[in-house]
Each structure stands twice: as C-alpha cells, then as structure tokens.
C-alpha cells in the first residue's frame, strides 16, 4: 500500500498535504530561480498537483514511476524528501543525484522513482522496462510512465506502449495533458479528439479523466493497477490539467493570455479538494491553514538545508561513469584531487 490512499479520511488529508507541499516547493523553486540561485532549467508543476498525487495515491510504495522534465510533483507524490530534492536543484553534494542531475534528473530508484527526464517521451520506455522486470520475476508491482501531451507525438512512446501491450506487461501510461508542449497548443500537435484515443491503436483501454480532480485520477489509476495485476496488460490514462506557470521559468508565455490561466485557476485542484473535504467534515479551515503553514515550513527547511549544504568536490565530476574506473577518466580525477591542497576529499 501507499502510505496514503483516497479510501480513508486520513489518506485524503494526506493527499491534500502532498499537493500543498508540491505547490510550496515549486513556488519556492520559481522564486529562487528568478533570484539566480538555481542554475539551468526548472519546469514547475503548479496547477497539475492532482495528477501526480492522484496517481501515486493509487500505487503501492514499491511500484515504479518514470517521470518527465516536469518532475518535482511526481517526486513529492512518491514520497521523496524535499530536502534532498532542493539540494539537487542547488547542485549540492547530497542532493538526490549528488548534484550531477539537477531539477531535470532527480531520481531515487530505491524509492521507485526512475528519474525525471530531459528527453521528451523517454519515460514510457523506462516504465515498460520496469514492467518487464516485474513480469519476469513475478513481482507484485506495477510501473507508471508519465508523459506530457507533447510527448504523445514521440515515436518511442508508441513503441513502448505497443511493447507493453503485446507482452501484456503491468504498465500504466499517464498522459498529463496540460494543453501545451512548450508554446505549441495541443491542437497543433495532434489530430485526435482525445489523446487517450491513441490507446486503441495498441489494443489497450484509454480513458480521459479530469486531471484537476485528485479522486478522479486516483480512481482511474486504481482501476488500471487492478487490470495490470490481474494480468490484463497496460492502460492509458489521459488527465486533463493545466500549468499555471510558464513552460520553464523565464518563459514569456506569448502563446496564451492571462484570462485562460485564470479560468483554469477556478478549478484549482487544491482549493476544490479542500472544499470537498470540508463539506464532508473531514477538514476544517483552521486545520487547512495549519497544513498550509506546515507545508511552507517543510519547504523553508528544505531551502535552508540546500543553501547550507556542501558543493560537490570537483573530483566527483569523474565518479559514476562506470562501475569500475577507467584510465581515460582516472587521470583527470587524480589531477582534480591533487589540485585541491593535497586532496582533502
């Protein structure tokens, strides 16, 4: 079981907490990026929280997910620690990837998180591969491949879905249709009504759900998980959602107007789920505010931790290319160690 499911009031509150944590993490990352503290690219998940959280709520702890370039939400939904995530964004030695990956490559394979991914469409083949391991060893798990609407145009996505289908593997493909691939609207990239229609080409069920509704996502994934575990193969789920921020931080967003963003904000996944929990008597406004403050505190602590953490030693650039060392690289590692007063590393 996941440590939260939407079957209990407690689990629902936990799901809300995760969504709050994701939002707080990403809003903070956006601010820190704007201030020039975070290098590279960051792609934020604000507005899309219900997809990652709904999906992971329906998974078991040891199930796998393969993420995208917009991966922070998937990480937190899967239970990764914001401290080490933020440290990774800051390029620090004890970030999840020891500073080698950054925002676009956060991974924790032991926790079932097979990595954010800088290559659009590369996650689904990873999920098919994880499902192959599961099937091969008869393990009681599933693997989820996340992808964006834009990624549905990639050949390797369809090859992966077809493989999972013909081999009847326990895989689930979750399309996060946020209406755009960078600045290009979904209508200019595809000629189908629903992206889930493409499932038919691979002989698997395809469903489209409200991706602003965490329970709708969780129900679809739960169903898909049952199917996969019953040996009935993969499912494709399209979650209709929206990103509030630019494609990446710094995007001028010439391709849309503020009204469109406002309309989607009215269906905000956090606000709407909160209302529902209050209506059901599972939450009060006061408790919600407390939760919000806690989420912020968690992220502030993560930020403080990341800022204080040590940079990697330059010689670490030469680690982890292979399982063993090769002379071509080793000589540079030795030079880097020697350069820093006798190698204090």
């Amino acid at each position: 079981m996941s440590d939260y499911t939407l079957d209990s009031a407690e689990g629902r509150v936990e799901a809300l907490r995760r969504m709050l944590t994701i939002r707080s993490f990403d809003e903070t990352a956006g601010e820190r990026f704007a201030d020039g503290e975070i290098p590279g690219f960051v792609h934020l998940y604000v507005g899309e929280e219900a997809v990652g959280v709904g999906t992971c709520a329906a998974l078991n702890d040891d199930d796998y997910i393969a993420s995208t370039h917009r991966g922070h939400g998937h990480c937190i939904a899967k239970g990764l620690n914001p401290k080490y995530m933020m440290a990774e964004l800051y390029g620090k030695a004890d970030g999840y990837c020891n500073g080698k990956g950054g925002s676009m490559h956060i991974a924790d394979v032991d926790a079932g998180m097979l990595g954010a991914n800088g290559i659009v469409g590369a996650g689904p083949p990873m999920a098919t591969g994880a499902a192959l391991s599961i099937d091969y060893q008869g393990r009681d798990q599933v693997a989820v491949g996340f992808l964006g609407d834009g990624a549905v145009a990639q050949g390797q996505v369809h090859e992966a879905v077809n493989l999972a289908s013909t081999w009847n593997l326990p895989a689930i493909f979750v399309i996060e249709n946020n209406r755009y691939g960078e600045g290009t609207p979904v209508e200019q990239q595809h000629n189908v009504d629903n992206l889930s229609d493409t499932a038919a080409a691979h002989g698997i069920p395809g469903v489209t759900v409200d991706g602003m509704d965490v329970t709708a996502v969780a129900e679809a994934v739960e169903e898909a998980r049952k199917r996969a575990r019953a040996g009935d193969g993969p499912t494709m789920i399209e979650a209709e959602t929206y990103r509030y921020r630019g494609h990446y931080e710094g995007d001028e967003q010439v391709y849309r107007d503020e009204d469109e963003v406002e309309r989607w904000r009215e269906q905000d996944p956090i606000a709407s789920f909160k209302e529902r929990l209050i209506d059901r008597g599972e939450l009060t406004e006061a408790v919600f505010e407390e939760m919000q403050a806690e989420a912020q505190a968690t992220i502030e602590n993560a930020l403080a931790y990341a800022k204080e953490a040590d940079d990697p030693h330059p010689s670490e650039a030469y680690e982890d290319m292979f399982g063993d060392s090769v002379p071509e690289i080793e000589r540079f590692a030795q030079q880097a160690t020697a350069r820093t007063d006798g190698g204090d590393h």
Binding site: A153, Q154, D311
Partner: protein, 331 residues
C-alpha cells in the same frame, strides 16, 4: 571569399548572424523552408529564429510536433524530392531520437541509389555545456556526424563564419549539419552584408597569425583561444585557426600552420576519446610529422557527460585556462 573592392560589414552577434543568413536564404529561394519545435511564435528556445515567422509565415517557418525522428526523416524525404528543408533540432542531444533517419537514410541515399538523388537538407542544432542544463541538454556531439560517411559538419566560432556557413549549408545539395554553440550566441563580430557572401564548406580560417604554436579551435574555444593568444602576446606568439568545417576538414591550412610553428594544440569541446582531436592530430602527423617539435596537445572534455552542478560543470568543461596550460606544456 572577399570580393574585389571594399567589403561592407556590420557588427552583429552570432545569433543575429545566423538569423540574417536564414532570412536571406528564405528570401532568395522559395524552395527553402524551416521546421522545428517552437521556432515560430516562440522564436526558438534560444531565440535564434526570432521573428522570422512574421516575415515568412507558418508554411515556411513550421512548428513541428515533438517528433525528431519523424521530422528529420520527413526532411530527408522532402530533400530527395525537390525542396530544401532547414531543420532545427532544439538541443543536439535530441539527435539521438533522429539518428536512424540521419545515418541510414539521409547519409546513404545518394550513394546507395547510385547518385539518383540529391540531399539538400540542413540541420541546425545547438550544443555545448556552460548553462547548467545538465547531461541531456549540454552534449557536444558533432564528432558523430563528422565521423559518419555521407554527412557534412560545420561548427562556426565567429559571427562571420556563423552567417557564411549557414548560408553555404542551405545552398549545398548535400546534407550539412550546422553545430551552433549555445554559449557564443551573444558573441559579436564583423559580418559581411553582401547577400552573396558565403563561407565555403571545407575551409578553415586563420583568425590570428602567430609563429610559436598553432591552436586549432572550434566554436566557443575559438574566442577563448584568441583571448589567450592576446594575453600571451610578447611572450609566446600563438596562431589561432577556427576549423569552421569539421567534415570536410581543411588539412592544408592546418598543415601549413604547423609547418610554420612546429607545435599544435587542438581545442574542441567534444569528449577526448575518438574525436575531432584525434583526427586533426593524425592529419598533422601524416602531413607535417617532420615539422613537429613537440607532442600534439588535446583540450576537450574528459570522457564524462556534462554534470549539472556549476562546480562540476566547470571542472569538466574545457576553457581558455586549459588552452593556456596546453600551450605552456609545449612552449
């Protein structure tokens, strides 16, 4: 390249020079059109295509779905059938996705078909580290293309060569890859304004003359090497050559320079093993062995990927200091 009379030039950045080349070629030939991801209204992620869509419309500045294998393959098919596509691959790392169409179709058709087709396709892409963009957006992969028979590869280091090579690539009836380095888009230079100006593919340029050591550089390292040459002036006289064209490679210019200086440093951001460095060094040895007074030095990326953390990225990326050290080792 310089015609008789006075050559008019204009100061511009590498980015502007490439855009001007694209504009002039779109203007000159109706069969030329561009395609790529977000090159239209977005103007390209690194803002190279800019406002070209306003001038030429979405038929000729085409946004594609995220399908590199599909559109590189389509460009190959289109080039074989009478049009002249200019493709942008957003980051060179994504060439992995389209490699099949590149190596088995684009590169081979003319030869396999006994010369029955031309292949006037241009692929522009941006490569290199320095932006904190991590391993899947920072690679320098031009050696793959230069290595592969049937493909031409150019790698401008200055605004002038960026414009001239882009134009020559588009006018060529062969597949030409233009490798832009993302860290030099803002670098300025003097660029000829004559719309007929091109830089012939296969010609290197001596950017600075010197007599003690030759630095054969590419892309960002051309500028870095020129800065080092300036610093060392008075002590060591450094000749800096921009390779400009990787395949075909201008062996004559390199050999002539090495015959004069007797010393060679090859500076290219590719991983060190099995790459541009080895090729240049071999040609120098084959043709100027008895002129060499010292071992040839290589400056490049140790055989790692480009890591994210600035500390690590700085460690592996070659720069002017590495060029200076390499010169120091042999002079």
């Amino acid at each position: 390249m310089a015609q008789a009379g006075i050559e008019q030039t204009e100061t511009m950045t590498v980015r502007e020079a490439i855009r001007q080349a694209l504009r002039e070629e779109l203007d000159r030939d109706d069969d030329v059109y561009m395609m790529g991801e977000d090159i239209g209204d977005m103007g390209g992620v690194l803002a190279v295509t800019g406002d070209l869509i306003d001038e030429f419309g979405e038929e000729r500045v085409r946004d594609t779905p995220i399908s590199e294998a599909g559109f590189v393959g389509a460009a190959t098919g289109a080039a074989a059938t009478g049009t002249r596509p200019v493709v942008e691959i957003m980051f060179s790392d994504f060439m992995g996705v389209s490699m099949e169409q590149t190596m088995n179709q684009m590169a081979k058709m003319r030869y396999m078909f006994g010369g029955k087709t031309e292949m006037p396709v241009t692929i522009r892409t941006t490569e290199g580290g320095g932006m904190g963009a991590a391993s899947q957006h920072s690679g320098t992969v031009h050696a793959w293309i230069a290595h592969f028979p049937g493909l031409k590869a150019v790698s401008p280091g200055t605004a002038e060569s960026a414009k001239g090579l882009t134009k020559a690539a588009i006018r060529s009836d062969d597949p030409v890859f233009v490798f832009e380095n993302k860290m030099i888009y803002e670098r300025q230079g003097e660029v000829p304004t004559d719309p007929e100006f091109t830089v012939p593919i296969g010609e290197a340029a001596v950017e600075r003359e010197g007599s003690d050591v030759t630095v054969l550089a590419t892309q960002r390292l051309v500028g870095d090497s020129l800065d080092v040459a300036e610093d060392l002036a008075g002590g060591t006289s450094v000749e800096v050559i921009d390779a400009r064209s990787l395949y075909p490679l201008d062996t004559d210019t390199i050999v002539e320079s090495v015959e004069k200086t007797g010393r060679l440093v090859v500076a290219d951001e590719s991983p060190l093993s099995y790459g541009i460095h080895a090729e240049v060094a071999t040609r120098a040895m084959e043709n100027a062995f008895f002129s060499l007074d010292a071992p040839i030095q290589r400056v490049g990326t140790p055989d790692t990927h480009i890591p994210f953390s600035p500390t690590l990225e700085d460690e592996v990326l070659p720069d002017g200091d590495d060029v200076r050290e390499a010169i120091g080792r042999i002079t």
